[in-house]
Amino acid sequence: MPAVLPTAFQQASIDYLAVLPMIIVVAGALVGVLVEAFAPRDRRHPIQVWLTVGTLLVALVVLAVWSRDHQAVTLGGSVAVDGVSLFLQGTLLLLSVIGVLVMAERFGGVGSDAFTPMGASTPGSTQEDAATRAGYATSEVFPLTLFAVLGMMVFVSANDLITLFVGLEVLSLPLYVMTGLARRRRLLSQEAALKYFLLGAFSSAFFLFGAALLFGYAGSADLKVLASAIQTNAGDLDGLLLPGVVLTLVGLLFKVGAVPFHSWTPDAYQGAPTPVTGFMAACTKLAAFGAILRLTYVGVAPDRWDWQIGVVVIAILTMVVGAVLSVTQTDVKRLLAYSSIAHAGFILVGVLAFSRTAIGGVMFYLLAYGATTIAAFAIVTMVRQDGSEASHLSQWAGLGRNHPVVAGTFAFLLLAFAGIPLTSGFTAKFAAFAPAVQSGTAGTVMVVVGVLASAVTAFVYVRLIVLMYFTEPVEGVVALQPSVPSTIAITLGVAVTVVAGVAPAVVLELANNASQFLL
């Protein structure tokens, strides 16, 4: 007897134009791998930079020109290319371009300045010295970045739990590797990578277990089916629903660094090569919030009265812990890490408003925060003492005296983080908080906590400004002259910060129009 075949196997229809940006990115990444294999070593860096930036830009153009008119749920229902995912993917591509330009900074060296010449060598070993002398360079970070971007793009558009998980892993694995590749303080970097990897693996397991429970509940991994199963309350497996939701949310909240799943953030941010930190802080956060939006709004929204209160508590904790702990930091990268935790809390406040304007507000926030963050970390890479990054706060003293432009730009970005009006930080905060106030008492309480936490973080940023401007300079701390790519990156970041602060109407309009999920 022949094996039983499915009676009607239907090939999933694919709307190629809708997913073309993702295809371009993966193609670029694969070409990047080939470049690593075949291009001469001394040519790899420029080739990779051009290839990566070019790939991202082409994908962005394709997305803006063609995919926009091809909104569809495609690939057999596993990928939803709708307004939300297109806006987030576009933002991701834009931010990745900025991030890659920062990674390309060489400061006159052979390869990227931030990355070790040979990741496999033992820190401080003769092998490492030999690699440096031979002019090795880890230009494979560029294809790795492209793979991570692909994972993020899948993550924000995944319409079922399996695809969501695939996206999660595709974006995480390259980041674990990149975290461990810092050129300086390599032990710290490798430790960070290990921590990030172990905790990330844990959270992935949580997510997977939750996804399995939800699959058991609904009988399908599809978010839409899950939603209608909750609505009709069909199954007699009710006990699986809440644990499933909680566990999947834990997996996702880990990625955004929400308290109490935040403990990897400061270590990973501090240890990772600074351009990677900027890229992670902006893009990973964006992708994870995209996934949270889709899971909570499309998938488990009908059940939200059961789990919402828990996330409200997490949001409040995230804001308070992030803000308060940032006060005691003495390392600028850890400080920005805790500030990113607080910002994750602010964004969660917007997410929990559960309205269309909230989606637009959150997406606007992610764009504004991402651009500011990458630019800020780019500046951190430039400030040096004895050749290594001067990341201790005391080394930033008096920077404004000797390097007014660098310090001025950084001060401006800090004011944006603090949410001072006429910067993107303020409009973004307003965009995320307004729907929350509208949503009711719980939202208003969170907003009150949020503004108080903002005041605390403002103290932290302003103290850093004080340090840069009002104190005596430290001997030997210099700001290196950035090359053209990082100058472009910082300029772009600052430009977004200004425009989104002074004239945000156009971007907000775009975000609001895109704030509709396709079911």
């Binding site: 637009g360 007014p404 004011l415 001072i420 009006p421 006429l422 303020f426 409009t427 307003f430 965009a431 908080f433 307004a434 106030v437 509208q438 208003t444 907003v447 009150v448 503004v451 108080l452 903002s454 005041a455 403002a458 103290f459 302003v462 103290r463 004080v466 401007y469 009002f470 004239a503 945000p504 109407a505 907000l508 309009e509 609001n512």
Partner: protein, 512 residues
């Protein structure tokens, strides 16, 4: 009406001036101060033009209006306009800024070119924000200016102030920011109880258009009031002011206390009273109590100060108590008195801070006991200091008397106890001002080393003092122009709040 966007111009001109000052090349140090002064004078001309164009008899709420859509998604418009109260404050700011620039002429050494450029550029930027905050007729826009204003002040104190400047600047910023952020919640909430739409933040649409529960509106009132109480500053959230005032340069202190703090009292009229009439009535007892405490507490602490700048700062806390008292008495007399007081206080504080500053530059100490007998050395300085002091203690014939009298009269019409207790403040004012004058200026002639005797006021300093003294006398004898300007606006406010003045009563207590 004029077709020129005067209010926008009054912001564009100082900003342009600031850019020009900041962009001056090395070697043009001599140009910095004339450019800055010229800019402020042009702004003053524009302010006068706005005053001329303003029609007190007009029935519309705001004049010289400009409205453009800014962030329609949030309901935000770039909307400017003035009523009498706002215009009076803008004109005051426009007069005080050139005075302050002139007073700050030698604050920064010409050798430190970059530092000097930034100092005057920051002042000009601040002037633009001051105009904007009073002229904004969109709640969101007001908030933007309200917060953005903190940044130049922060740098003015933190980079150019005295030895404790960083502490003072940080304290100032944190107090203001915390208050402001609480207000942000109110700002957001107001939009949702209002009519909404792409221009839902316009004050004109919000007044009378708030449709929320009584409790919600009261909470919003509190959110706004806290921010304004910090700014004003009222007891018990006043503690940042003495530090900020004594650590900043006198010119900065004038702009801070004389103009910026008025945003607090102005905001109480424009937002607390006009947007939340019911909540204002509800909160009146508490607010009046705090105001009376501010009056007496500020005056008592002023008497105990040995630092001149701190003393003047505490007198301001007392005076702000009077202003708040007049606003929340909700009588037309009290409201007009408060508004006039805001203007007068700006000038009298300017006089005190600047002349005390001249004194400090001569002797290098802010401590009152380090002085004595200076009227024999610097008679003009001493004389003008006395006049400024007398104006501050509300001597009849000088400007503050009119406003203080109106405030007390207006308060007495409705809240007799509060008025009587607050009247104590006048007595105490005489004490702290005259004691300070006595200790610094009277007594035996101090001895100085040969050739080091301090010189009397220079020509530049006389030019600084002259407009201030003129304002004392003019507004003291003939406050009518200002009162004509503000009265319609005050009446309009009371009409919105829905109160009428209590009928005068005769001795038997029955209404006539």
């Amino acid at each position: 009406m004029t077709s020129l966007p005067l209010l926008t111009l009054m912001m564009v001109v100082p900003v342009l001036g600031a850019v020009v000052v900041a962009a001056l090349p090395v070697g043009s140090a001599r140009l910095v101060r004339p450019v800055a002064l010229g800019t402020t004078l042009v702004t003053l001309v524009l302010a006068v033009a706005a005053w001329v164009a303003f029609d007190s008899g007009s029935g519309t709420m705001f004049q010289l209006t400009e409205t453009h859509s800014w962030i329609p998604q949030f309901g935000v418009s770039y909307a400017l306009g003035v009523d009498g109260i706002a215009l009076a404050l803008i004109v005051m700011a426009a007069i005080l800024t050139p005075v302050c620039v002139l007073a700050a002429w030698n604050d920064v050494d010409e050798a430190e070119f970059g530092r000097m450029k930034r100092y005057f550029a920051l002042m000009l930027v601040l002037e633009a924000f001051m105009v904007g905050v009073f002229a904004a007729t969109d709640v969101f826009l007001f908030y933007v200016f309200f917060e953005a204003m903190l940044i130049p002040v922060y740098f003015l104190i933190g980079m150019y102030g005295g030895p404790q400047r960083q502490y003072a600047a940080m304290k100032f910023l944190l107090f203001s920011l915390a208050g402001g952020l609480v207000m942000l919640v109110g700002v957001i909430a107001v939009y949702f109880v209002g009519p909404g739409g792409p221009d839902g933040f316009l004050v004109e649409k919000l007044i009378g258009g708030l449709d929320g529960s009584t409790v919600a509106l009261r909470w919003m009132f509190v959110a706004f009031f806290v921010a304004f109480a910090v700014k004003a500053p009222m007891w018990p959230v006043h503690t940042w002011l003495p530090d900020a005032a004594t650590e900043s340069r006198p010119a900065t202190a004038v702009l801070l206390v004389g103009v910026l703090d008025k945003v607090g009292t102005y905001g109480m009229i424009r937002f607390c009273l006009q947007l939340f009439p019911e909540a204002s009535h509800w909160a009146t007892p508490v607010v009046l109590t705090l105001a009376v405490i501010s009056v007496v507490y500020g005056a008592l602490l002023a008497i105990g100060q040995t630092d001149m700048m701190r003393l003047i700062a505490f007198t301001s806390i007392s005076h702000f108590g009077f202003i708040v008292l007049g606003i929340f008495a909700m009588t037309s007399v009290g409201g007009a008195g408060s508004t006039l007081y805001m203007v007068n206080h700006g000038f009298s504080t300017a006089g005190l801070f600047l002349i005390a500053g001249f004194l400090v530059t001569r002797h290098g100490s802010k401590r009152i006991p380090d002085y004595g007998g200076w009227q024999r050395v610097t008679p003009v300085l001493a004389g003008t200091f006395l006049v400024a002091g007398l104006s501050s203690l509300a001597l009849p014939g000088l400007s503050s008397f009119v406003s203080e009298f109106l405030v007390l009269q207006g308060t007495f019409m409705r809240y007799k106890v509060a008025a009587v207790v607050a009247a104590l403040g006048i007595v105490l004012a005489a004490l702290y001002i005259l004691l300070m004058y006595q200790r610094t200026m009277t007594g035996p002639k101090p001895s100085f080393a040969e050739g080091e005797a301090p010189r009397d006021l220079s020509l530049r300093e006389r030019w600084v003092v002259a407009p201030i003294i003129v304002s004392f006398v003019v507004l003291g004898f003939f406050p009518k122009p200002v009162l004509d300007l503000v009265n319609p606006a005050v009446d309009k406010t009371l009409q919105i709040v829905g109160v009428t003045d209590p009928a005068p009563t005769d001795a038997s207590g029955s209404a006539k």
